[in-house]
């Protein structure tokens, strides 16, 4: 998982506002992130935090007429924001490709999975049909689908959830992308199958030297796959750092709260769970200042006045918080929690 330090993907000041509803909703507010070659970053957050919107922006998957996007996204030097028509199609799947939470919805139900992979291969690489089929078979074996030859001719509904997810990974890797975007790919799977898919993704990442952005709401999943973790809240990255740093010495009160809400097995049994008070803000009516401030036990007047800038803590570890002095002393998962 070691990464060299040339960024392959750079996001600067990304803003995404959806204008389709009654009130515009600013789903992503000034996200900057750079992904190095061979690195895996986990975007961690709860529903509405903007993690999936950020991910989808990289492939420009948002409906153009109802979305306002600003900022800069560059992949291997190409500016994604200005790509149009054919260039955008060629970029999707070839340079950057994506896997989704629900393969049953992402795969086309009326074609066999083999046909779908062959189609993707022939579109991007102009292979002959037999050559593409041969390559599809290799991909199926690569993602360890048993009796791969036969499975190529199966329709998505004929496969189990884990098998479908493997097929979607094969499809995503068909054109040898350099960057893989994963949007909660194991969330819909059973626990025993989730582990298998996480191991597969980790192995493929290592062998193919992929750079990965992995969106998840599950800290446990992030810990399994990521080199770095970026925690999102209300459209902003509130903390980012190497996975060990963020898990062991979180500095943003939200991260601290999130980590402590894990039930920690039997250790807390019979007691109350530490919970973060209140609920995530409505993105159409964000509070002034830090969006977490209404739920934060450490909030002071300054927190309600302005959005804090990222504060560098240790190399590569930043938190958007005015109170990082207070969270440093705590070092434990207690700062922002109420009983």
């Amino acid at each position: 998982m070691s990464a060299d330090h040339t960024p392959i993907l750079e996001i600067e000041n990304l803003d995404v506002t959806f204008t389709g509803g009654a009130k515009p909703v600013r789903a992503v507010a000034g996200v900057s992130l750079s992904l190095c070659r061979g690195e895996t970053i986990a975007l961690l957050g709860e529903s509405g935090s903007g993690k999936s919107v950020t991910l989808r922006s990289i492939l420009r998957l948002h409906p153009e007429r109802r979305t306002r996007m600003s900022g800069r996204i560059a992949v291997v030097g190409t500016d994604i924001m200005t790509l149009k028509g054919g260039a955008l199609s060629a970029f999707r799947g070839k340079t950057v490709s994506m896997i989704f939470q629900e393969p049953a919805l992402a795969l086309d139900p009326v074609y066999t999975v083999g046909t779908q992979i062959v189609e993707a291969l022939r579109k991007h690489d102009s292979l002959t049909k037999p050559a593409a089929r041969k390559r599809a078979l290799e991909l199926f074996e690569r993602v360890r689908i048993p009796s791969a030859e036969r499975r190529l001719d199966a329709y998505p509904h004929e496969m189990s959830g884990g098998m479908r997810q493997r097929a979607m990974i094969a499809l995503a890797l068909a054109c040898q992308p350099q960057i893989l975007l994963a949007d909660e790919p194991t969330t819909a799977l059973d626990a025993t199958v989730q582990v298998q898919i996480l191991l597969l993704l980790r192995e493929l990442q290592r062998e193919l030297g992929l750079s990965v952005i992995f969106v998840t709401h599950d800290i446990g999943v992030a810990v399994e796959v990521a080199d770095r973790v970026a925690v999102m809240y209300a459209g902003r990255i509130v903390e980012i750092g190497p996975v060990r740093e963020v898990i062991r010495s979180p500095r943003h009160p939200y991260t601290i709260g999130l980590l402590s809400t894990r039930a920690h097995g039997g250790r807390l049994s019979g007691k109350r769970l530490p919970a973060i008070a209140g609920s995530p803000p409505d993105l159409a009516h964000l509070p002034l200042g830090c969006a977490f401030q209404p739920r934060c036990a450490l909030a002071v007047a300054a927190c309600g006045a302005a959005v804090p800038d990222p504060v560098p803590l240790r190399p590569g570890h930043l938190a958007r918080c005015f109170r990082t002095d207070a969270t440093a002393r705590e070092e434990g998962p207690d700062a922002s929690t109420v009983d």
């Binding site: 959830g161 059973d190 709401h217 599950d218 809400t261 097995g265 919970a275 995530p280 109420v338």
Partner: protein, 372 residues
Amino acid sequence: MSDTAAIGVRPLADTAALHHPRGGEGSDPGRNHSDPAPLNPGPLLEAQGLVKHFPLKGGLIRSPGAVRAVDAVSFSLYPGEILGIVGESGCGKSTTARLLMNLIVPTAGTVRFDGRIAGSRELPLRAFRRQVQMVFQDSYASLNPRLTVEESIAFAPTVHGMASDEAVRRARSLLDRVGLEPARFAGRYPHELSGGQRQRVNIARALALQPRVLILDEAVSALDKSIEAQVLNLLLDLKDELGLSYIFISHDLEVVRFVATRVLVMYLGRIAEVGPTEALYTGSRHPYTTALLRSMLSMDPDRRTESAPVAGDPPNPINPPSGCRFHTRCAFAEGVCSAVDPALAPVETGHAAACHMAIASSGHSKADARAA
């Protein structure tokens, strides 16, 4: 939620009046366990040999078979207990919940409450459902979108004959109890609430008839982690205050370990293992339980999972594997496992596993060593 803790709303009455203490006439293995409530030896809710087969449609000459969703499942819930039911999709945990409530009619088997069969003349379903209520995973789908929160909660008491002003008063006090200020929330519609708030409403509604048992079917699974913790704390508080017992169905092993006093593991419609929570989590005896527990992620970047504890997906519950249903994925499977269906056998007090390795002289080569 802290703002309401101070306001002690009335406790639900008459739990003591309903006891029908029964002696333990234990015949099924689920009953032979150390009793969590020694003063009250009889089980509160009992499933006896529950079976549910969903016949498949199609097939011209004969039916192509059935989904054997739940197959001969027996267990008991004791007063004051939280019984966790865990398992993967298709294991029958939600079907079991629906069978317990008689929301679907069992192919075979009975449900007893306080010793009386639910749906019998002794305990008609209407009376049974006053005692046992359910909270579902989808907080939105389970509320009527055209009723305000207050109307939803007051609905069942009115149906059961309570005067409407009294029902509304109860609805408001329940809203208060679950942490939603009545003045702000009573008049709202479900779409005006967040997921966590809606689930609080569902809990309040389930409590409106003053039941003694709540069946929580993935009730916190759709919530964000920070909200999930709040709702779990609420459920634990309510249980203590109102003397409730829960059946807590979840796929989240971590949460189940935190809340449950006893855990039941299901696999493909069968009980694989049942036992006191810590005994089961630290000394599981069924290989499936062990695999499930080893699939829990470590949360430690230096102790990442390096190998999958079990291969493959759970098989299809249509025509499940012969013998032990787990034998197709089990690392210890031998001839006996595909031939003979293992019964749930006690391994310690209150701890039973349906595995040939836990049954002495079952014919499995590891049987005697492990069953001893």
